[in-house]
Symmetry: C2
Amino acid sequence: MQDYPRDMTECERGRRRVVIEGVRPEIDGGRFSIKRATGEKVIVEADIFADGHDSLSCVLKYRREGNEGWHEIPMRSLVNDRWRAEFTVDELGRYLYTLEAWVDHFKSWRQDLVKRIEAGQDVSVELLAGAALVEEAGARAGGADAKQLERWAGALRSKQQDLPHRISRALDEELAKLMDKYPDRRLASTYAKELAVAVDREKSRFSAWYEMFPRSCATAPGKHGTFKDCERRLPYIASMGFDVLYLPPIHPIGRTHRRGKNNIVGAGPEDPGSPWAIGSYEGGHKSIHPQLGTMNDFKKLIAKAAEYGIEIALDIAFQCSPDHPYVKEHPEWFHRRPDGTIQYAENPPKKYQDIYPINFETDHWPDLWNELESVFLFWIKQGIRIFRVDNPHTKPFVFWEKVISEIKKNYPDVIFLSEAFTRPKVMYRLAKLGFTQSYTYFAWRNTKWELTQYFTELTQTDVRDYFRPHLWPNTPDILTAYLQSGGRPAFMTRLVLAATLGASYGIYGPAYELYENRPIEGGSEEYLNSEKYEIKHWDLDRPDSLKELIGRVNRIRRENSALQGDWSLRFHDVDNDQIICYSKHSENSANILLMVVNLDPYHVQAGWTALSMDALGLDPHRPYQVHDLLTDARYQWQGARNFVQLDPKIVPAHIFSVRQ
Amino acid sequence: MQDYPRDMTECERGRRRVVIEGVRPEIDGGRFSIKRATGEKVIVEADIFADGHDSLSCVLKYRREGNEGWHEIPMRSLVNDRWRAEFTVDELGRYLYTLEAWVDHFKSWRQDLVKRIEAGQDVSVELLAGAALVEEAGARAGGADAKQLERWAGALRSKQQDLPHRISRALDEELAKLMDKYPDRRLASTYAKELAVAVDREKSRFSAWYEMFPRSCATAPGKHGTFKDCERRLPYIASMGFDVLYLPPIHPIGRTHRRGKNNIVGAGPEDPGSPWAIGSYEGGHKSIHPQLGTMNDFKKLIAKAAEYGIEIALDIAFQCSPDHPYVKEHPEWFHRRPDGTIQYAENPPKKYQDIYPINFETDHWPDLWNELESVFLFWIKQGIRIFRVDNPHTKPFVFWEKVISEIKKNYPDVIFLSEAFTRPKVMYRLAKLGFTQSYTYFAWRNTKWELTQYFTELTQTDVRDYFRPHLWPNTPDILTAYLQSGGRPAFMTRLVLAATLGASYGIYGPAYELYENRPIEGGSEEYLNSEKYEIKHWDLDRPDSLKELIGRVNRIRRENSALQGDWSLRFHDVDNDQIICYSKHSENSANILLMVVNLDPYHVQAGWTALSMDALGLDPHRPYQVHDLLTDARYQWQGARNFVQLDPKIVPAHIFSVRQ
């Protein structure tokens, strides 16, 4: 491998003296693109240097993929041979960037000239050398600039003028600027790689999701909810401030080996089954469960939701019930056991006879891949642009890389959320290969140390260039021990943490706002009487509902751009392990929020902060105001050390707006 | 860029489920080779994982470059999807390594079978599935193994045998071993890169250099020393235990603009000039300064030195005096100023009229490169295998990369030491592109904090894979402030630090052993009456010479393999900032040395150690003996906390051999 372009002749190569290395951002040597949302910056840094002591010029080059011609941004030198420049991505799709640098003989000459003059040396020969460089630039320039450079070269040489005059002409800033326009780049070094940026819409960075089972939305208890019922639920969801409504699979549900309430083997005739047991004689992944309504009803729901500023997200789970049409039509896509039966899902010793996993090792994989890709395309045609992908880590990485990149070529606005709760490197790989957002370990990070470690990794390391965290305090599968035991205060705490640590977060409701926390027996994270296996009827008007707190938090998120991104996150010390304190600020630092959260759902906790005034951009010698956007209380603070006290029974958190 | 081989058909690609990433060691994405000495290990780690929960098998593959066929080493799984294996490089030259991994269906099957049996499930169908896998392996095997696998498949299926018997056959370790020999690797993933190891001889890691001006070796004061005089000096050098004798340039010295004593402009007729002003009518880089002797004398010196176990290293400085034959024969290799004169060396406002730098940007660079490469080849033919390269950072990187790699193809035993005292990234780049060893910032790292930071970077980070530090407490150009002010104790301290922190180190003598420390006026690091510009006569028998201490330290290095490498270096705390404490151990930990050095050349310093018993491999509950190899004193120590006290006037350091 070489770091010069391969088509360069041997002859040119030997004189390209500049080295470009240590480029950032660059994921796995350029194998994967970095991610940005429209309007965001790409700040590029690199180590750029040459032999000797000559001055260099370096440019960052970028273009939208498919467009001809690079835009160039001059890079500025930091310290220790590090250079930096940035560009903003405005359009959806993909951008490319790379670097170019060259030894700048005019800059070197000018810099040396200053030193010689300061040392009182005779510079008449040097002026002639400079004139030659200016003349060469003139030959490159053409037009009016060419003439001007020629005149300038003449002035540097002129025997009519005295030396001081010629020197002042040589050091004229105007000349330096003009010379900068016509550098000699014949021996420039180009970085060997063109690195890619995947540009998504803003929602990829900032959104609040609400997960809800449509079948539990009926107005009367015991009835199977419909998309029409979902429409009626929209004002409620909008009042809490969510902008994505995510529905578990809406397809026909299998009958064979259907699970009953609480996941028992053998369902009764009234049991509705799990929506993830996809497919029946009524259809598969491109069909709608008849009890929910028609395709037309679904489209109406999409349109109605849009009126409330809410987008519908679908769940795509590539697995089949034994009744799925694929099983008959494409038995070759499933693994057959030696006894002739089709292999059901297993995690030995557990068996899931109601689910057939797809065999991605089948010889017929190209057909299979095409069909699965067509499932996304089908729903995209119905108007869906957000997919939550179920268990992507049990399907081959290459499959996702191909499907996502092909879909995004035509639909760059599509968002794919990876629901992979698995080992860290697998989760990161899925993000690298194209998933727009990713579920995280947030649900199981409860202590101050855990949260600080994890969110520092997610927001302050290279991970942030490809992995966009999506935070869920609960899901239909995950009722954590913290929520089980901590009751209503725990739900408040985790809501505030999710909504302020993560610009993207979601809750599974109404279980969340009604702080449903009864687990099934046996210490698992499964809900008792889980909505996955039965229809629920939720009392949304319960006076203890958290819906108002949630609405307030989401309003704060919308009104404070500090909470609309993750990269500004900084943790601050507090002398109490039960209190966590962190800040976020907007890009221009006009909006600064400081969160203080009591992690103990049982007791009042108090402590003294040790704020990093520097990270907050505050003058440590002047007082400042902190305004709690949750309670509207205002305090006058001074310096790093301030007293905080939080009662989990009332509100376990401050979300302070900070102003000096 | 893709991480699967490019010749793989689309059809095969889709089913290769294993990902290999995060490979270490790998320098700049595989752009450069790592370095090892013969007999050293290459420990390779990688993140290897697939979708789902199948078991994987992974192998590390390596071969000597040029040899057909890979050796394969099974990798073992660590934690968090990390895998590791290692191989040893035995021969000089280059090795390649890469990785391959695959989903191992038999391993997965076997692992699941155990879980099913533990859960009391009926496994009769699973046994049939296992039999099919065994049968397939048999088809791959051929010969006796094929027959045995066929029999085994039969046993798993056999209806004559009861289930428990068939299960015990299925889980037989013998079967697992046999199956391991014939894995199904059709869908294996191969790491896309073949990474390289440059294997040098042991001296690249462990050597003690002595730099000496041959012209100062005459027996009588005022006489110009010769190679014959150098021969007479060999027993002295050998008695101090050095194994490399490095000579500044031995070529004819220019007369034009020759510098006089203390680098003054305008030499007198008796001034010998700087050996770095290379070339006169008597010859250039392939000639010998006549006053030193003939080529035959030089070869005799090489042979005589070898008898003392000493190898001669030459200084290669690519620059010319105005009298160098190149200037007349190849004026196109030099930069011409507008007034027609040739550009002399400058670092404005400083001028060096006695030196012409070579213009590497010349259009005639291919000829130039060939000529310069031929300089190395010329001296290699005379028997030289070690080159100290002067200021490589002022010549293009690509030049060095090409020259070094071409020379090492035919002469893999050649050692190139990079004398680049410049910015860190430039120094590291020179090491990456091929220099065997590199000068370091050691001379200017004096405090405990500085030494700890710097040597942790050099020995405990990825830097160590390509940058081999060579430590010099002084050189003819560098008389540090510490040595200037600290006198004899400072020279003792810096000697012990260099010789124990660095497996490779060197001194410029006899200035060093005679602790010559008078600087020229003006606060610089130049010696007063520098040997660079005049012939010196040293009194080697001065009773205060450090030669005996140096001899002792070098003997300790030879007798203790702990000091023959740098990677085991660990720092230990001492509650006194003037005392530094660190340990090194041999690969098998049989040899453990603990260094305690007083950095204060003026005062007795004492303190309490806080040793990491773990790093030393010591049982904290049992006493151990520390034996000072410098003074022969022995102490009984216990635990981490022990008292140390060092008088710089006597011996400012302990070099303890540790035994429990």
